[in-house]
Symmetry: C2
Subunit: 343 residues, 2 copies
Amino acid sequence: MNVTLAIDAMGGDFGVQSTVPAAVACLQKNPDLNLIMVGDESVLRGLLADALRDFSARLTIRHASQVVGMDEPPQKALKNKKDSSMRVAINLVRDGEADACVSAGNTGALMATARFVLKMAPGVERPAIISTLPSTFGHTHMLDLGGNVDSSAEHLYQFAVMGEEVVRAVEGVERPKVGLLNIGEEDIKGNEQVKAAARLLENSNLNYIGFVEGDSINAGHVKVDLIVADGFVGNVALKSIEGAAKMISQKLKAEFSRNIFTRLAALAAFPALKAFKDSIDPRLYNGATFIGLNGLVIKSHGGADALAFETAVHLAELQAGQGVIRKIGDKIATALLEQQVLA
Amino acid sequence: MNVTLAIDAMGGDFGVQSTVPAAVACLQKNPDLNLIMVGDESVLRGLLADALRDFSARLTIRHASQVVGMDEPPQKALKNKKDSSMRVAINLVRDGEADACVSAGNTGALMATARFVLKMAPGVERPAIISTLPSTFGHTHMLDLGGNVDSSAEHLYQFAVMGEEVVRAVEGVERPKVGLLNIGEEDIKGNEQVKAAARLLENSNLNYIGFVEGDSINAGHVKVDLIVADGFVGNVALKSIEGAAKMISQKLKAEFSRNIFTRLAALAAFPALKAFKDSIDPRLYNGATFIGLNGLVIKSHGGADALAFETAVHLAELQAGQGVIRKIGDKIATALLEQQVLA
């Protein structure tokens, strides 16, 4: 499947240091991929000289004179940075020149610009952010991760409908198992929004498996492919997991650095420790998708290195190749019809 | 400080198997501790024969003919189990015979029974559940962990006031640093309740440090002693961390079990791996405190073994010894006065 992606080449903490090698690696791996690198043309032309020759038919550069700062307030970026690499990359999606864009730029500015330029998809009440996490069963996808707070039952239901298409595209699972994040698995648990959302999901065509608790994100007693939550709750869960992983890694490292004996043991244990580290490498889970807009936008972690950025580009390839945006549009239209019939 | 605790000896997945050895260990360690073991008298008398002789002045048994099941609905337990070990232990707190009670029984029944028997403390709008988690800085205390959903700004403020006393008692920190769990550190982030609670905390006498994100629970960039959240959010965060720790441990174990070489490496690395495991041992963090009632109730994890249960008993000793309930009462009264003055 031929896919064209617009890359915000200047975004993120490392800018071209990450985006350029990632772009080249992706072009090498996928012969059906076309990339438009957006940013300072003279810089990019210098860095990409070899690649422009090797992939002449699949790599182009689009000049953008500005860069959105990592701490720049969204409204300022929107007003003053109309020729930023971020904005121009999103414009390419709006104009149909690219199937999706990928940026490691600041989340607030990216979300605000994406909403402003692409607009909400018909019938969608709120856009959401979805990402993938490792689990003992493989992967779990979760949304919303911070796009919204105070989500209503209907919002949660729409998140489930949209998220299902993303999981189907990324995992190739026909009927992803959908769970609703709650503080217990019994029907009486939770707040009113979650209880009402459960009723909507039970009556839907989704493969809804019921309430799941926070531990199900990484290591539940049942497999769940998609976990639906309000953006406040989803964001706190995601960050809590990041903090736990960071603390555990630090403690493990501290114990192996304690003295000469533990350092020797670390040497002996190196292959196992390396394999362990790789198995939970957050770079292999980089990339969050903004869904619910008229176009696909993938947000990479700001601190992404080339490998992490490559993961985000690959995520965009998968979803754009599967036509996720069009499929979400169809599903939302059907879901709205169903709700009208039920109402 | 002389402290008397009532122990629900029959509660939890392992009942007397955990509670009896834990009780004996605690009596050995703390000469100022008095215990009332509540449960089947003949069973307890048999198991505690030696201890009753060794600690004759400090150990007594109180008979209770019933046990609350781990899956028993709270309302059923409340109605049908008036002579349960859980209920009788809480009654001892109400009647002033014990300074606190500790139970590994089912959370719902314990909370419902504690609320029914002890009643809410004057001025407290909602009781909350607080517990301790490991962090890169030492410990973090967090509440509410599931007592409440849809907490208002005033509820969150009260949680902070009550939680501060617990942290002071347990950690011996005079001015614990209080953070409010949010999805960003900027003022504009979050939902209305959190923003309004921030204003109340800024104007309070608490050592309020501002918003903290989920990763601050275990590994933030600043030290925080007490994290305040709505019970839905706090419970999801806690469970998410549990799931992350479980997954990471499983993956670490899997890598060291992969083949003969990694198994040999695990042998060499045993001291470091053991020290690491101990450093995040959840048994050393067992015990959640119900606060906001006219009496102190400590909930142990249902699956607690003797060591874990001992941790929960120790937590009760500390808090009862410090007169946490009385101090919370004073603080709530002052806080209410302050609010009236401000209003």
